[in-house]
Assembly symmetry: C3
Homo-oligomer: 152 residues x 3
């Protein structure tokens, strides 16, 4: 397996963007917790420390602004790891480059649009549209890999 | 690495089935939200849209039928991504085909039975049995990969 | 791709340790549920069975000791699957061995220290330090893989 193979190269680009996106969501949660000085999860987080000089127990209450970022991260967890693996297996089957590019960059675009729609509280229907596109791409790649492997 | 290698082929089949299973769980949640017209997560989901023509605030209350599907998906997230990776690494060590088949298809069977037991609210003890089989298979593969790599 | 390649061998060791860690977190949750005889998630878990001979409805209340283990597992889910994939892609780019070892074993160390800090309720600031080290390592590997693939 050679990362210079064009289909694999496409996968490397899509996979690293999606991985970055998922890692950055945790930092968006951190940013939001700092901004509202709350939304913390654990009792020890209201001990007085350098990062929390004036703790109070309200900081442990769920905060909608912080919780939205956590919901976005849960949505990432539900979707991105499966893409990361099935994308690799798909690329290993030596598919046509143009199909690989449409599927992988289409997936990246659908997830970034979903991120935008959920992050800015757009309507459910718009968010569901982006989710559906990404989900169908992954399901299609799963089916392709399964058929490829069964046919041997 | 050649997807036509028999151990890798077995892995491709198991991995694509498990990936499909995890993707479909999201659609089971969607199906259940449509069926009960509720169990939504975000405030914007009770805006009037084509998919939600008669919104009301009760739609944001947790619904047990919907939450069960979300719990099933969380259980998938806890288990399937690790299998997807460690299964690939295991297959790359060129294990005997029959061992690979027992472990990988055994894992798929244990997860589908766990899905059945949790989805139909069978007893904890039955569900725990299926969980344990799948978990021990993955732990065994982790230990094998670790020893293989340390021995060089 | 040859698992005997030194960078890949380093990855195999780090990946199998991180996979084991994530699998064992589920068993820590199980251990804690048995110890407090509670913290169960599903209504069917208070049916009388061999593993739960004296059920009562309080067993479905969230228990802080059990919930902490679930929070640790959620933190694993947010972080480890991305490392498992991006670590593989990073190793496939044939990086220098010493860099690979620093990044991968540094990641393993940061996650085990985070596990210790969260598991024993150390201060937020200590826990955040370990989280940050691991997160920056993964983000760095993502950026490296992305640049490597774009440069072709």
């Amino acid at each position: 397996m050679n990362p210079k193979d064009p289909a694999l190269q496409t996968y490397f680009i899509a996979a690293s963007i999606m991985s970055l996106k998922m890692m950055l969501q945790a930092w968006i949660t951190v940013y939001r917790m700092f901004k509202v000085k709350g939304g913390y999860l654990h009792p020890e987080d209201i001990k007085k420390t350098g990062l929390n000089p004036n703790p109070n127990s309200n900081q442990l209450k769920p905060d909608p602004y912080v919780e939205r970022s956590r919901a976005m991260q849960r949505n990432d967890m539900e979707n991105i790891p499966v893409f990361l693996i099935i994308g690799l297996l798909f690329a290993m089957t030596r598919p046509a480059l143009w199909i690989t590019q449409i599927l992988m960059y289409g997936y990246v675009a659908s997830r970034l649009l979903h991120f935008y729609a959920l992050g800015t509280a757009k309507t459910h229907d718009l968010r569901a549209t982006f989710f559906t596109i990404g989900s169908l791409i992954v399901i299609g790649m799963c089916a392709y890999v399964l058929i490829f492997a069964i046919k041997g």
